[in-house]
């Protein structure tokens, strides 16, 4: 059994003037491990390797990274999913500043999330029990609320690369639509007014990289289309 060749993007701002790729060899003993398992094995040997991880089951969104050219979560990406020619190249999510090694500064990503006011707004007084919502109304939130904010989509989006300060990006827009689609939210008009400029929504060019990489199988492009439909219906 040959050793898995792993190439990892390294950068420590305190000691490195520029990032570089470091080569490692890992003996997987033929097991189809997750990429995160490989990182853990390497980390036990080389403790300087930095990356984020938490739940290790694909629900917390910590370990988004670029694996052999495609964004995904290291903990639920198995070697058989991603390794080609016995080689694994790991890089940080593209388009965001690198803090160290595989950890990026997610500040811009979170800022765009916060911009869409990601919380339910309802100006009517709350009842003593829950607000009622039919199963059909609730079904509209499926495929939206499951987002884990891993940033795989937004950092795979060329429009977000060019305008991360102005284009909300697929993750933020998916959440924007999650509240626009919620029968309990009454801020639809105010939400739409914030989105009608040429950047926030309309920088989406339908490239659909977001859909291709979403580890939860969500479809931000479709949500963006629905926002556009709402804007159009509202303004014409």
């Amino acid at each position: 059994m040959s050793m898995l060749q792993v190439s990892i993007y390294r950068y420590n701002p305190e000691t490195d003037s520029a990032p570089y790729m470091q080569e490692y060899q890992v003996d997987t003993q033929g097991r189809d491990l997750m990429v995160l398992n490989i990182l853990e094995m390497l980390k036990a040997e080389d403790t300087t390797l930095a990356y984020r991880r938490s739940c290790r089951e694909g629900v917390c969104g910590s370990d988004g990274m670029n694996m052999n050219g495609k964004n995904g979560l290291a903990c639920i990406t198995s070697l058989s999913d991603v390794v080609k020619n016995n080689k694994l190249v790991l890089r940080p999510l593209p388009g965001l500043p690198v803090v160290r090694d595989l950890a990026v500064d997610m500040g811009l990503f979170y800022k765009q999330y916060e911009r869409i006011q990601p919380y339910l707004q309802n100006d009517e007084p709350a009842p003593a029990i829950e607000r009622l919502q039919s199963p059909e109304e609730r079904d509209k939130l499926d495929g939206l609320y499951e987002c884990i904010l891993c940033a795989c989509c937004s950092t795979a989006c060329p429009s977000f690369w060019w305008n991360p300060d102005k284009f909300v990006g697929p993750a933020g827009l998916l959440q924007s639509y999650r509240f626009l689609a919620d029968s309990r939210d009454t801020a639809t008009q105010a939400r739409l007014a914030e989105l009608q400029d040429p950047f926030s929504v309309f920088r989406c060019r339908g490239i659909m990289n977001c859909v291709a990489v979403c580890p939860k199988g969500l479809n931000p492009t479709r949500a963006i289309g629905k926002i556009r439909d709402m804007l159009l219906a509202n303004a014409t």
């Binding site: 300087t48 089951e57 910590s62 500064d105 006011q117 829950e130 607000r131 039919s134």
Partner: protein
Amino acid sequence: MSTMRSLTFDAIIIGGGGAGMRAALELAKSGKKTAVLSKVFPTRSHTVSAQGGITCAIASADPNDDWRWHMYDTVKGGDYITDQDAAEYMCSEGPKAVFELEHMGLPFSRFENGRIYQRPFGGQSKNFGEGGQAARTCAAADRTGHALLHTLYQNNLKNNTTFLNEWFAVDLVKNADGDVVGCIAMCIETGEVVHVKSKATVLATGGAGRIYASTTNALINTGDGIGMALRAGFPMQDMEMWQFHPTGIYGAGVLVTEGCRGEGGYLVNKDGERFMERYAPNAKDLAGRDVVARSMVMEILEGRGCGENGDHVYLKLDHLGEEVLNKRLPGISELSKIFAHADPTEAPIPVVPTCHYMMGGIPTNVHGQAIMQDADGNDQIVGGLFACGEAACVSVHGANRLGGNSLLDLVVFGRAAGMFIESALNEGVEYLDASESDIDSAMTRINRWNESSGGESVADLKVELQSIMQNAFGVFRQEDNMQEGVKKLAELRGRIAEAHLVDKSGAFNTARIEALELDNLMEVAEATAIAALERKESRGAHSRYDYPDRDDVNWLKHSMYFPLEKKVGKRDVNFKPKTVDTFEPKIRTY
């Protein structure tokens, strides 16, 4: 240490999971200067992994449901060392807290009439155990924790809570009076260490499942708050009580919700027999988790386990049909395919009891105030220190937590702690400032690592700790094994004190974080081990071969572990609820 920067808050909440963020939300609304300090971005906290739901008598599935029935189940589930005043508070306040979550936007699944969907969970009954199985767990498909955590984060954004994200709390700072007046914390991104001063310090740091080799817990669940409190000399309660969840995916340890069995799934052994019918004739697969986990281990030990090595059993779901699985358990289908290579619509999921939840923790009252004991064994409030969520032991879970009660615990007691701190701050609390030497003593540990120049590696020591715990303090326990375990842990503690931090860089140094976490794991493991050895009976999750029976004469008590003496004492269980009659201890059957 005079060059160290200090940050001052009215209240600092350590931990950005459900409990911490619920407490923060209450305080942010009050306008107090508060901050949440979390070692991960808040939505990466382990609450996100909770699946099945939040148990609460909101009377949706059954319009006649009653919080007292829920309280009865909780007390019985905890094998009668649940504090009844705390269970009463949680179950009666619960509906309010759940409706608040819904008003905040939590996307609960719904019944046809538009009310919140509730599913059956283990240990639930109607009419104080007389009315059959209840369906009391409010769910957002099988992603309730995710939905809850994101909703809380979103509402904290709405209320402009200050977040110190990716900051690690190192140790508590105590003043000369023994009050907690803040903590030492480190910004992970830069490595800067600061002194956080605050009048209220809330430990909402969650569990510590990583003391075991096999756990459903996230890699971040290293008991940081427990470690800090133990190092500061505060006692821990019921640390021997660790829940082993019946359905962790074999090999991976990933959780499969009890909701699977709530929706109609069941466990089978290698003969295809639904074996829970033998162990719990009434509740079957929905008996208490401790009961189901033990039954599974019995099946395996008696040679009826599945697989090549006969070391697991199967969770059968295919009979539920694709529609139910897609609608009610979509996340499970995903996890099963990824981690067990089994599509539950066709094949059963291989499962094994896996460490899941710490019932014990920092003893608190219903307001989240941490409790210690004076020389005569009387409760004493610790000034400035609060705890809520899994890190705390209120104790609503007693010796065994019921499914869905952890999320309720989070929101009810996070909220309660927030409300109490707000009123305490309004009344005005003043503590002595920490002196230079108080701060220095809180810096001892991080300084030790930073100055280490040789010794064993953190990763190796962690593996060793986890294997000791797994082998000696698992589902079934016995004296000689545990004694051996305690001895090994004592020896390991010495080696950890000499261990080596190779990388001493500042920026995003996760090696330093893992080293600091190892200290916390060590504290939790030792507290668990010593308390487990001391409790000479079987109760709830604590099952001993050598003491197979419950001993209400000697052990209808909380255990209290005192870290300075490494001794275990006892604390009375509360049997005095305010509005209902006491639930007297009975033989616990399902």
